[in-house]
């Protein structure tokens, strides 16, 4: 799995609550059987003025000039600043795949929906939860300063602001370890294969109807 250690980049502010995964990547793009190539359709319905089709060349589609991803100052941004309940709705992992493919490495929000939050870690994206008033300040500062960048240091669980202020963030130790080392979850679990087998045979004795 992809590693996450340190990341410095331009902040893209997406000022909208309850951003759902349909909004992040609309369903017509879910027909792909690959994990890559979703970046050009990230936030498709907000980003373009026409209706997007799978496998379409997006380079001459009409852009929505009001949408934040299309504004010159946020080009190349790697950190997404968002509002509460980010990633709600469908379980589609195509949402983090699209964010990743676009180049987003870290998302900061006051809260995330469970399944999406989990899916981020599986793809080397770091979702960070910060207090709402701190997120408010980051939105203000991003708006006020063109080229506003944050530096994320996962090992030390710190965010460095341009004015030198340091914000601390929480992360569960197991998730931190997996991200820092780019570990493969399945291999990790298979280290417990004997425990799984032992459980399974006990469980089968107890509930044989589950093993028909």
């Amino acid at each position: 799995m992809k590693k996450f250690t340190q990341e410095k980049g331009i902040v893209i502010p997406l000022d909208r609550a309850n951003v759902d995964t349909d909004y992040i990547i609309p369903k017509q793009f879910l027909k792909s059987i690959k994990r890559t190539g979703f970046g050009k359709n990230l936030f498709d319905e907000a980003r373009y003025l026409d209706k997007g089709l799978p496998d379409e060349d997006c380079s001459d589609r009409p852009l929505n000039p009001d949408f934040v991803l299309n504004q010159a100052r946020y080009q190349g941004g790697r950190i997404l600043l968002a509002r509460e309940n980010f990633g709600c709705g469908s379980s589609r992992e195509h949402a983090p795949w699209a964010l990743d493919d676009y180049g987003i490495r870290c998302i900061i929000a006051p809260s995330f929906a469970d399944i999406f939050f989990n899916n981020c870690f599986k793809n080397g994206i770091l979702p960070i939860v910060l207090e709402e008033d701190i997120v408010d300040i980051l939105f203000e500062e991003t708006a006020a300063n063109e080229g506003y960048e944050l530096e994320i240091d996962l090992a030390n669980q710190q965010i460095l602001k341009p004015d030198g202020e340091v914000l601390a963030f929480d992360i569960e130790p197991s998730r931190k370890k997996v991200l820092l080392n780019g570990l493969d979850d399945i291999s990790l679990t298979l280290q417990h294969a004997d425990d799984i087998k032992a459980f399974e045979s006990r469980w089968q004795q107890q509930s044989p109807w589950l093993f028909n």
């Binding site: 349909d22 027909k31 569960e172 679990t189 425990d195 028909n212």
Partner: protein, 475 residues
């Protein structure tokens, strides 16, 4: 020590081990698989040269992407016109063959939406842990199973290890007291619950639905409620096992038989929260106060009773919420204070894993019987949840009632619930839909979804706008 909640019991019985990092390894009894969120998982297994840990603990069916017209469906997978969809459905078939996973293929009479066919076949059983790469897996909790949606990486993880690394959620009890009024359905109940606790109200919790009004629901009604637990932010919703659960399961094809049935039933009798169990959060509603619900915005929490008006954002104090309301009304093309009943509709969708079971179709048919779809309605679709629901409805003559009234009778699948196939809303069109999500663009680019019960959707179909279904005479 306090007793255990149902969720605690289900968790404890599946705990393989607590890992030293604070997570736990949980055994998974059953995984449902569909064509959209599985191809990359199978590809991952292939690349790592891994096999399925226990292929018999999986059941697959294509549903999200399949066409629903008879002309396409009568030719099976080859009949799918959209080439990209066809590849996805064919990939599922090939992957299931390769990994020895049973599949109800597109032309199998038992085919349908994963969350419909599982309970229908008795594959979903009380006391199981169930996952699927689909957030509405919470549906299966209606039978006393711990069921939730997962992402594709986890689909692969479950295929390879039969477990998930999990963090235990907190316990929430949503209790609906008393009785629902006449004409009020499980859908109205769950929309009212979401309206009350909000779309993030259940985040981090497993919700147990209880109370007299919940227990009085049929198993199908309980599925409708659990189905939308995720719309309240909770990954899983559950209902305790009772006589109704056991009656529902008896004799279903995959349900245990003979001695095993007796043994299973006695184990299932314990699947309820202990009387002295403690919940981290308790929310109560009065069943008698719930009215037919209609969503007016772009999030399932934006609901109102049918006799109310669209809210006025100016009256909302919280600035961020006010902004959300403004954004939603703009997208929905609605003016503040419009009576809900004045919202004119263009299309009607009766279907989805929330409301496409036989009871839903009966409720809708009872309303449209002897009536005609209103002139302003461009299309009214009825999409049964499975091949068997369709056959049962036809046996009861419901298809004729729908067709006679001017609705279209389709083949099973997810259809306009997420509009991955040809069944879609046009830009700006309003739809009364029995599905579960009213997000922007969910049912088609620029489409405007209003979530309602099947009876309310049917009433809207024959009226051309929302009406209180309780005011119509039923035939």
């Amino acid at each position: 020590m306090a007793g255990k909640t149902l969720y605690d019991k289900l968790w404890d019985s599946h705990l393989v081990k607590d890992l030293d990092d604070g997570t736990s390894l949980l055994y998974i009894d059953l995984q449902y698989i569909h064509e959209v969120t599985s191809p990359q998982a199978f590809e991952g297994l292939r690349l790592a040269k891994r096999k399925a840990w226990r292929s018999g603990a999986n059941l697959a069916t294509p549903d999200h992407n399949v066409p629903t017209t008879l002309s396409e469906r009568s030719r099976g997978v080859e009949g799918i016109i959209d080439p990209v969809s066809k590849i996805q459905v064919k990939s599922l078939d090939a992957n299931c063959l390769e990994f020895e996973i049973s599949e109800f293929t597109i032309d199998d009479p038992r085919h349908g939406i994963v969350h419909i066919i599982g309970p229908e076949q008795g594959r979903t059983l009380p006391g199981m842990t169930i996952v699927c790469g689909d957030s509405h897996t919470s549906t299966h909790g209606a039978l006393g199973a711990l069921a939730h949606g997962i992402g594709t990486s986890e689909v692969e993880h479950v295929l390879a290890t039969q477990t998930l690394q999990q963090r235990k959620a907190k316990n929430m009890l949503v209790k609906v007291n008393g009785r629902l009024g006449t004409g009020i359905t499980a859908k109205d109940m769950v929309l009212a619950i979401i309206g009350k606790i909000g779309t993030a109200g259940g985040t981090g919790y497993t919700i147990e639905f209880a109370g007299d009004a919940v227990q009085a629901l049929s198993i199908e009604g309980r599925m409708t409620v659990c189905n939308m637990a995720i719309e309240a932010g909770a990954r899983a919703g559950i209902v305790a096992v009772d006589d109704l659960t056991i009656e529902y399961l008896e004799g279903r094809p995959f349900a245990p038989k003979g001695e095993q049935w007796k043994q299973a039933v006695s184990a299932w009798r314990d699947l309820h929260s202990d009387a002295d169990a403690e919940f981290d959060k308790v929310v109560e509603l009065e069943g008698s106060e719930i009215e037919p619900q209609v969503s007016w915005g772009t999030s399932p929490e934006m609901v109102a009773p049918v006799n109310a008006r669209v809210p006025d954002p100016q009256e909302v104090e919280n600035a961020s919420r006010r902004g959300n309301y403004q954004q939603a009304l703009k997208y929905m093309g609605l003016e503040p204070n419009t009576p809900i009943q004045d919202i004119q509709l263009d299309r009607i969708f009766i279907g989805s894993c929330t409301n496409s079971r036989i009871e839903d179709l009966r409720a809708a048919a009872a309303v449209v019987k002897g009536r005609k779809v209103a002139k302003n309605i461009k299309q009214a679709l009825v999409v049964p949840g499975s091949g068997l629901v369709k056959a049962q409805a036809e046996h009861e003559g419901l298809d004729k009632i729908f067709i006679e009234a001017g609705l279209e009778w389709r083949e099973p699948g997810c259809s306009m619930c997420l509009a991955m196939n040809a069944d879609q809303l046009g830009e700006g069109e309003h739809c009364a839909s029995t599905s579960n999500r009213n997000f922007e663009g969910r049912q088609g680019f620029g489409g405007r979804t209003h979530l309602v019960s099947p009876a309310m959707a049917a009433a809207a179909a024959v009226s051309g706008h929302f009406v209180d279904v309780r005011t119509l005479d039923l035939n």
